[in-house]
């Protein structure tokens, strides 16, 4: 694989951008890959759909936008509905299974679901569902090394919350491992 296009999508406040940043950071800072993350911004204020797009590559990335994602991570139904059509036929689709009902999948797609909100709540903070998703993503895509992502999580979350977030990361990772 030389370049992988990934879309992280959900509602504002769910932390999807941070999820994308962690993956990008892991690849570019803690592994020897290139990573480019772009976001689509709109005048629509926060609270509605938002997404981050990440390209991972072994070579320098020129064109920065994701056009046909090979991996879609969706944390809301609206996001899922919006981005599924542009996702590749053989894509990996990663969903929060209690927030997203995966209708309309194309035949070659592989779907991985995780009740990340519930898991996060079990860990004590609903807010860290995105980190659970990051762990899950790491496990099921095997794109980036477990340790690299772990470092990236540490480097990306607010000081003092590392411990909780790493637990979330591990929880998601385990959940993913178990599925494989």
């Amino acid at each position: 694989m030389s370049a992988t296009e990934i879309k992280f999508a959900g509602l504002g406040g769910q932390g999807v951008i941070l999820a994308g940043i962690i993956i990008g950071r892991a690849a570019s800072i803690y592994e020897n890959k290139y990573a480019t993350l772009t976001q689509s911004f709109g005048p629509e204020a926060r609270g509605s759909a938002c997404s981050a797009q990440v390209i991972l590559s072994d070579e320098k990335i020129l064109y920065p936008y994701v056009t046909r994602p090979e991996i879609l991570m969706a944390l809301s139904q609206e996001a899922f509905n919006k981005f599924l059509p542009e996702t590749r036929d053989n894509a990996i689709v990663i969903i929060e299974e209690e927030l997203v009902r995966p209708k309309g999948l194309k035949s070659g797609m592989k779907v991985f679901g995780i009740p990340a909100t519930r898991l996060a709540e079990e860990l004590g903070r609903k807010m860290i569902l995105n980190i659970v998703m990051v762990g899950f993503f790491t496990a099921v895509t095997r794109l980036i090394d477990y340790e690299a992502v772990k470092e990236a999580v540490k480097a990306s979350v607010p000081h003092g919350t590392e411990h909780m977030n790493l637990r979330a990361y591990e929880r998601g990772y385990e959940y993913g491992q178990a599925l494989l």
Binding site: L11, G47, S48, S76, Q77, E78
Partner: protein
């Protein structure tokens, strides 16, 4: 949305357009007659929307309408609705 059942019936009617609602709760909080409460269901945008839990108490004062930032609810005097 619901009209009253009692014989004298409510003076007012409240109408909710759940699709526009963003679940802020203003209408529920500031309805002087306690007509409204959150329903359990989400709308398409993922918000809990209000429902009239005590429709018979509605006076049609339209305070809910004045407060609603999403133009998703309004109250009316029943006579006007009929007219």
């Amino acid at each position: 949305m619901s009209d009253g059942k009692k014989s004298r019936g409510p003076r007012g009617v409240v109408t909710i357009n759940a699709e526009l609602c963003k679940g802020c709760g203003f209408c529920i909080e500031f309805c002087p007659s306690g007509v409204l409460a959150f329903s359990d269901t989400f709308n398409d945008k993922g918000y809990h929307t209000p429902q009239a839990v005590r429709p018979e108490a509605c006076t049609g004062c339209d305070l809910c309408g004045a407060y609603c930032p999403d133009f998703a609810i309004f109250g009316m005097l029943k006579e006007k609705v009929v007219a």
